[in-house]
């Protein structure tokens, strides 16, 4: 996956770094990109890795960010899956774990109604097989 490479300009946590280049902000954990934000589109981010959950990512997952009071809401609009956090990073991290939880729940169901079926189809366009350990 092509990632923007730039100068680390801030630390978001002990093991996380933020890099910025040409308006794109990328958050890394060690050398793994977690998500990318385009500062020209301030309300959007993209999930670029699910490595921490052991899943492959087929394509980047678009995330829309909304501010509600002191809450940040992160939504994967295609499947109407949303959660919130105390910061943008917290909200996107929370959304990643929720996407994986719902992907696993829906994948293991035998009888899905119309909308859960559509949600699973959406998730399958983005989330691949569980990566096999080396």
């Amino acid at each position: 996956m092509n990632m923007p490479v730039g100068t680390i300009w801030a630390y978001a946590g002990a093991t996380e770094a933020v890099s910025i280049n040409h308006g794109l902000v990328a958050v890394f954990r060690y050398s793994t990109p977690l998500f990318v934000s385009d500062t020209r589109k301030p309300n959007t981010m993209a999930i670029v890795s699910l490595d921490e959950f052991g899943y492959e990512l087929k394509q980047t997952i678009p995330v829309v960010i909304e501010v509600l009071g002191d809450e940040f809401i992160a939504e994967f609009q295609e499947a109407s899956i949303a959660t919130s956090g105390s910061s943008v990073l917290d909200a996107v991290r929370s959304l990643k774990s929720l996407l994986i939880d719902l992907f696993e729940v829906l994948s293991n169901e035998t009888r899905l109604g119309p909308y859960p079926r559509a949600q699973l189809a959406s998730l399958r366009r983005y989330i691949g097989e569980k990566a096999k350990p080396d």
Binding site: I81, S94, V105, A118
Partner: protein, 100 residues
């Protein structure tokens, strides 16, 4: 920061989960996910709806209306029992069809 605060707090999120669990017209289960309690709502073994309720110390749960395909007002009404589970499922189906 946005000016408007969400009216949906952890208390309302729990009331919604409790109401779904108690309603005999559906079978609701709540399982522990990584950072959320995952609510699944079934009728006659068919999964009709699922969403997550975040387990966190923060009070705000402003994302719940999006997950339930309701307005904030309707979500509060659902938590406070002036909208029934069947009425919610009708709205959910109608709105989700326009998304699907």
């Amino acid at each position: 920061m946005g000016k408007k605060q969400s009216l949906i707090k952890q208390k309302e999120a729990r009331e919604i989960a409790d109401k779904l669990e108690k309603d005999s017209s559906v079978q609701t289960s709540i399982r522990t996910g990584r950072g959320h309690d995952i609510v699944t709502v079934r009728r006659d073994t068919e999964l009709l709806a699922t969403f997550g309720i975040r387990r966190s110390k923060s009070e705000g749960h402003g994302y719940i209306p999006k997950s339930m395909h309701l307005s904030e007002r309707q979500t509060l009404d659902f938590a406070r029992c002036s909208i029934t589970v069947t009425e919610w499922l009708n709205v959910y189906h109608k709105r989700s069809q326009s998304h699907a």
